[in-house]
């Protein structure tokens, strides 16, 4: 069955030139004053000590926006993890806000991972990057200090699926959080910034930046320069991000990974009805039938939609990406998924 298992897509990565550029900084001064107690030279690194450090320095894991202290707290009650992964997997196009800091500030990242290793004593610890980047200008090193850098493959959307495949006893921490952990341990700095990719075909100099949390998006755009007016502006991802209406009012948060400004060509607008090419069925990671779902939802046939598995859609937008007719499949399906109450009410009327 492997042969037919074509779920997911390989997206065009478009990470260059932001990935190979140096990390730039856009920091305001106010956050610098606060200090926490650093780790002493010969101090024994325990889990409790790390949790305290994380809480004092208010370090946030940029993967899901949860405080790192809370995540470690969860591991205190359980057996030690088999594996700790420093997560630098950027499977979305344009985004490289984990891989770039890993390459440019590798010492800090390795130090952070080492701290976790000594505290939790896992069997293994390594960094992970996305494999489908082999055509990039800058090579990702195979080893950073003593840690191996593994390349994880897979088709979009892979990040969540890949980590769930590794098993339950795995602690995955974002590279940004590791760097901030290292800074807190070495210099006692409180986390006041995060790493953000600014890219898109409207941006003059796409790059990765370290930005103070709370900076408005417009400041970043100004720093990198807009060539033309974008037709769409989004946070985190060009696939399933958050749309930005007013860049003055939208502020960068700890889990913001990217600001993407795109000017779309006119040919990318919807220009035809569905021609039944079945590309969307092939890419759907959940094995659904997006074209039938689209037809059912656009004609308001609720029962059919639930029979087709409407509630299982994860909204990854792979179907909309691949659609040669440029239909807004995923958008409509998600909309109806929210609008219609869950399964119980869809009895035969």
């Amino acid at each position: 069955m492997k042969l037919w298992n074509t779920k997911g897509i390989i997206l065009e990565q478009k990470k260059e030139p932001a990935l190979s550029r140096d990390l730039q900084q856009l920091l305001t001064e106010q956050g610098e004053s606060a200090k926490v107690e650093t780790l002493a030279e010969n101090e024994e690194v325990t889990l409790d000590r790390l949790i305290r450090l994380c809480n004092e320095a208010s370090i946030v894991d940029e993967r899901d926006g949860e405080p790192l202290g809370d995540i470690l707290m969860g591991w205190k009650l359980r057996a030690a993890p088999k594996l700790i992964v420093g997560d630098a997997v950027d499977d979305e196009p344009y985004v490289s806000n984990q891989t770039n800091p890993l390459m440019k500030q590798s010492a800090d990242a390795a130090y952070g991972l080492r701290l976790l290793q000594t505290a939790l004593k896992p069997q293994k610890a390594y960094f992970a990057v996305y494999r489908e980047m082999h055509y990039l200008n800058s090579r990702v090193p195979t080893k950073i200090e003593e840690f191996v850098v593994r390349k994880m493959g897979g088709k979009y959307p892979m990040e969540r699926r890949a980590f769930s495949r590794l098993g339950d006893d795995v602690l995955a921490v974002g590279v940004g959080a590791l760097i901030h952990l290292a800074r807190a341990a070495k210099e006692g700095r409180v986390q006041s910034s995060c790493f953000v990719t600014v890219a898109g075909n409207c941006i003059g100099t796409p790059c990765n930046m370290e930005v103070t949390i709370g900076t408005p998006v417009s400041a970043l755009l100004e720093h990198c320069g807009l060539i033309t007016d974008p037709t769409s502006l989004s946070l985190n991802s060009a696939m399933v991000g958050k749309a930005v209406e007013d860049p003055e009012q939208t502020l960068i948060q700890a889990n913001t990974s990217a600001v993407i400004a795109i000017r779309e060509a006119k040919k990318n607008l919807r220009h035809m009805d569905c021609i039944g090419c079945s590309r969307c069925v092939e890419v759907c990671p959940e094995g659904l039938n997006p074209m039938e779902l689209y037809r059912a939802t656009s004609t308001n046939r609720r029962q059919t939609a639930f029979e087709l598995g409407l509630e299982r859609c994860i909204g990854c937008a792979a179907c909309s990406y691949i659609c040669p007719s440029r239909l807004e499949l995923s958008h409509l399906i998600r909309e109806k998924q929210e609008k219609w109450p869950k399964g119980e009410h869809c009895h035969d009327r």
């Binding site: 039938e292 037809r295 059919t304």
Partner: protein, 196 residues
Amino acid sequence: MMDFLAVFAAAMAAENLFFARAFDSYGLRELTREPKRILVFGGLTTAVLATAGPIAYGVNRLIAGSSMYYYINGLAHLLILVLLFAAAYLLLQKYAPKVFDLIGQYLPYAAINCGTLGSLLLVAKDPDINTVWRALAYHCGAGVGFTLAMLLLWSLNRRLSSCNAGKSFRGFPLQLITAGLIALALVGLTGNQLPA
């Protein structure tokens, strides 16, 4: 055995009761709504045909010489079906009430309709079907073919309701056109000849 299969297959596909002869029963639209109904209905039709077929073959032999054959032929075959239906109805009601509850409501529609009577009459007219075995094969094939045709139309229903057809074509007209195109494909088996 090969002979049995050949007649069976011909009756099932090439001379399909629905697509080639358009014999319907119970209303096309109602019947193709759910597969369970089609299976019960088709099974009953096949059973009735398989029982009535050999009887009708014998009766047909008896009355074939009569001068009134042309006029009483249809009535005689209908009488066989009616008597068979009455017997089945009473027996089921008395000895198998559970089965009766399940299929009782479909029994009259499945026993007496264009499909069953038409199949009997076609066999009576066909000079090729000259043994009881062949008659039985034809009737079984006809019943199975009818069930399969209805199942096929049912499986196409969801596809039809999801297509972007104009409002006037939605529903019954589209189902008819679809049936027509399948019938067109089956003409490839029989060639261009008018059904008798």
